[in-house]
């Protein structure tokens, strides 16, 4: 198809950081405009709604705390996803990896006898291992049999959610839960400390920040990171250079799933203090983190910013739900639009579009 003569499309020789930044802003602006249609449809002024979201999420210490609470899982998962996406392994299964991490931590919290001082570290380890093990399944399927990563990771989310369901209705159903579908409350030694007066479980937050920095160093500065990037950017060259694609896929998925597992530990041991229904446990962090990683352009350090942004959007979503009586799903619509516009804007990174109103 040929573009009209007044549109001039030119290949960009390289993408500068500045281009990435303003194209991303443009995409978010586009999503904001598109989302206004939905606010209008509910008879709410979009500007008013956006102002509420911003002030609600960032304007008070309570709002800020709520934002940070949601930032924590998005940060951990988002960092892991940037690593997987670097190797062009499309891990859509962080939601399931989070749940399995939560299950593993719950198991350690409730059923494994051990000294109190060791319990939390053991839970984090178990959570990481659980998420990593869950992620290993699609990694092996892809590495050994060439099975599509998007489908296998996505499908395993449902499997994980049903395992949670089975546990809380069956073997792990708490005797003290008075018939409700969740486990017993965790013992005090299994609770992650919070900043007083908030729901910010700060040790998990520190883990997230640490993960972002370490992942950045790993991907950009180490031997394995080099292999990850070569496999992701040109698998033919990786083969030619003798780099094993299977090994790289397994490596990134262990890390990606492990970090999602840590997010699961944070949710059960930092927020809920028990294992409960998958939908209430996670709020879709595994899916939102895909957008977080994408907006960060697969840079683990940038996830520090983008996870906070989406934490704010999620917290702001709660605010508009309460004060405007709008369904929370509107936030999901908005997030979906952002991803849509981000992926659409990729073309603007590769090509420069200019409009020539006058004849050249």
């Amino acid at each position: 198809m040929r573009a009209p003569s007044w549109i001039h499309i030119e290949r960009r020789p390289s993408r500068s950081a500045w281009t990435v930044f303003y194209v991303s802003l443009l995409a978010i602006a586009g999503a904001l405009v598109a989302a206004s249609i939905f606010f209008k449809a509910y008879g709410v002024s979009p500007l008013h709604a956006y102002r509420l979201i911003i002030t609600g999420a960032l304007g008070s210490s309570i709002g800020l705390a709520e934002t940070v609470r949601r930032t924590i899982p998005l940060l951990l998962i988002g960092v892991g996803l940037t690593v997987a996406f670097r190797a062009v392994f499309w891990n859509i299964g962080a939601e399931g990896q989070l749940l399995v991490g939560a299950i593993a931590a719950t198991g350690v919290a409730l059923f494994v006898p051990m000294p109190d001082a060791l319990r939390l570290p053991a839970m984090f380890l178990a959570g990481f291992a659980g998420g990593a093990a869950w992620a290993l399944i699609p990694a092996l399927l892809k590495a050994q049999l060439g099975i599509n990563d998007v489908i296998s990771t996505l499908m395993l989310n449902y499997v994980a959610a049903f395992i949670v369901q089975w546990l809380i209705l069956g073997p792990w159903k708490g005797p003290t839960a008075r018939g409700f579908a969740y486990t017993d409350k965790f013992p005090a030694s299994a609770l992650i400390p919070r900043i007083p007066g908030t729901t910010i479980h700060w040790p998990t937050l520190i883990l997230g920040v640490l993960a972002a920095v370490l992942a950045y160093v790993w991907v950009m500065r180490t031997r394995q990171g080099f292999e990850i990037r070569v496999v992701g950017e040109n698998p033919n060259a990786a083969h030619y250079a003798g780099i094993s694609q299977s090994k790289v896929i397994i490596m990134v998925m262990l890390v990606s799933g492990g970090l999602a597992g840590l997010a699961g530990v944070g949710e059960v041991a930092g927020i809920q203090h028990k294992l409960l229904d998958a939908g209430k446990l996670s709020l879709g962090y595994g899916y939102t983190a895909i957008i977080v990683a994408w907006l960060a352009r697969r840079n683990p350090l940038a996830v520090l910013i983008t996870s906070f942004l989406f934490g704010a959007i999620m917290a702001g979503g709660d605010v508009i739900k309460v004060s405007l009586g709008l369904p929370f799903q509107l936030v999901n619509v908005f997030n979906g639009l952002i991803l849509f516009f981000l992926i659409g804007s990729e073309i603007l990174m590769k090509y420069k579009v200019s409009f020539a109103w006058r004849k050249r």
């Binding site: 020789p13 390289s14 500065r221 180490t222 031997r223 394995q224 990171g225 080099f226 990037r229 070569v230 950017e233 040109n234 033919n236 060259a237 083969h239 030619y240 250079a241 003798g242 780099i243």
Partner: protein, 513 residues
């Protein structure tokens, strides 16, 4: 009408010019194809054959020149327009929907009948009739994925005939076929021209030209160098026309005494990507301080040979021993660590990571060495120093070593690949088409570098389709045809014609007689 001895022209291309960024694919090409003939377009890879036919089929627009069909000047703006002019094309890679049936593929995109329903009864009848008439047996109800490659090609031909094509363009149709399928295809093509159709047959295989065509036009470097009657030419003449006789430049090649044997290849067999035999029992030796040229028309096993020797493809039989290591049992990484350098055929798709920097591309194979990596952490400083040194030594021109390799020119990309592969003083170098598509300056430099490596002591396997290059650089020339060695000669005692004949499948003894 008295002077008219030859049939009228079906196609007349006049002065076709097509430029792509950095290259002229067609440089004022004239082509006259008579009605009812099989006309071969012969030329090496990159000579502009496919581009020219894509222009005729409306896939590209020419920058200059005219197209006349049956004496009338026409504009062909799209494949749809080409079909309206009754031109059909069978591409080298088929355009079929594998989950649909043969008849569904054939009627795909046609709007016949009324309403949304397909009229399969009528369609099937017409397909059967065409198939019978031209010897294109295929079950109209079969799904395309169930068919062999040869049968799929028949579907492509049927597709064109169903659309009433009377000019049929076949782009390298035999490259994917077995010998038996080739025979059947040739039978079909003869039936087609007897029925009055015109066939253009793109190929770079001399045997096929001699066997199938009435006339042949030879393209070289974007220009039509000659059109001859097949009956009045020979393989030798065509080979000469195709590769060109004039020597563009001379590289100073000092005589050196060849060293000890470094590579011993015995009865090597391998398959191509389609699981057809590509190497069929190759046996040869390579010595230090020697360039062994591999001459042959592309697709005769050169690519597979280079991949087997570098660990990228498994051999099915035989061995290749490099100083007590059988390369057919080693991984690509082990082979690289043994001091084997590989300049790959597809330097951009395989040889570099275009989005990564020059610095990183230069350590693509050595990033694990203690020089660049300590406790798993890459040593940026050492990589930077390495890049600076190599960029200077190999004259890679770029703003700095952080520039993405994909932004470099073709010549600089090849310099980068050579710098990386040759900097470790390899013992054995596999150089596949090292100057393909490069400009004069870069070509010269690449050749100079290869000769330097030879002088230093490396054994070099030089695969190239440029016979001049092979003859200039090689100490010995191995001629390959359908995965077999037709003979090993020295440049001095074999003429271009002799090598051309061997490339076309004659063994050395036959040539000499």
């Amino acid at each position: 009408m008295t002077a008219k001895t030859s049939p009228p022209l079906a196609i007349h291309l006049k002065g076709i010019v097509k430029r792509f960024p950095g290259v002229i694919a067609n440089d004022g090409v004239d082509l006259m194809v008579r009605r009812g003939e099989i006309h071969c377009l012969l030329g090496e890879n990159g000579a502009g054959k496919t581009t020219l036919m894509r222009i005729l089929y409306g896939l590209y627009q020419p920058d200059e020149g005219d197209i006349a069909l049956h004496g009338k000047s026409v504009q062909i703006t799209s494949p749809k327009a080409a079909l309206a002019h009754r031109i059909g094309m069978v591409h080298q890679h088929f355009h079929l929907v594998s989950t649909l049936s043969v008849e569904e593929n054939i009627v795909l995109g046609l709007s016949e009948g009324t309403g949304p329903f397909l009229r399969f009864k009528k369609t099937r009848q017409k397909i059967r009739q065409l198939a019978e008439e031209y010897g294109l047996q295929v079950d109209p109800g079969a799904k395309v994925w169930q068919l062999s490659v040869g049968q799929q090609q028949r579907v492509e031909i049927l597709k064109a005939l169903y659309r009433d094509a009377d000019i049929l363009i076949m782009d390298e149709p035999t490259s994917v076929l077995t010998p038996q399928e080739v025979k059947a295809l040739f039978g079909t093509l003869h039936t087609l021209v007897e029925a009055g159709l015109t066939v253009i047959f793109i190929t770079h295989k001399l045997n096929e030209v001699m066997e199938i065509s009435h006339r042949v036009t030879v393209l070289r470097k974007g220009k039509a160098v000659a059109t001859v009657n097949t009956g009045e030419t020979s393989k030798g003449e065509l080979a000469r026309l195709m590769v060109g006789r004039e020597v563009v430049f001379r590289v100073e090649k000092k005589p050196v005494q060849r060293g000890e044997k470094i590579l011993e290849v015995v009865d090597l067999h391998a398959q191509n990507d389609r699981s057809l035999p590509a190497l069929r029992g190759m046996t040869f030796d390579l010595y230090a301080r020697e360039i062994l040229g591999v001459a042959g028309v592309s697709g005769n096993g050169q690519h597979e040979l280079s991949e087997v020797l570098t660990g990228l493809r498994k051999a099915t039989k035989g061995r290749a021993v490099l100083e007590a290591h059988d390369l057919t049992e080693c991984s690509a990484r082990t082979i690289a660590d043994l001091g084997v350098a590989h300049v790959p055929t597809e330097r951009i798709r395989v040889g570099i990571v275009p989005s990564m920097s020059i610095r990183e591309n230069l350590i693509l194979k050595s990033y694990r060495s203690s020089e660049f990596c300590k406790w798993s952490i890459l040593n940026e400083k050492a990589a930077h120093q390495n890049a600076c040194n190599l960029m200077e030594e190999y004259e890679i021109s770029a703003p700095h070593d952080g520039t993405a390799a994909g932004n470099l020119s073709g010549g600089n990309i090849q310099r980068l690949v050579l710098a990386r592969e040759l900097s470790g003083s390899p013992r054995f170098v596999v150089a596949a088409h090292p100057t393909y598509g490069l400009d004069v300056g870069a070509t010269e430099q690449v050749r100079k570098v290869l000769l330097e490596q030879r002088g230093r002591g490396a054994g070099i396997l030089l695969i190239s389709e440029d016979l001049d290059e092979i003859r200039q650089l090689s100490d010995r020339i191995l001629v390959i045809y359908e995965g077999q060695i037709m003979g090993i000669v020295t440049p001095k005692d074999a003429s271009l014609e002799e090598i051309g004949l061997m490339m076309a499948g004659s063994r050395r003894q036959e040539v000499e007689q």
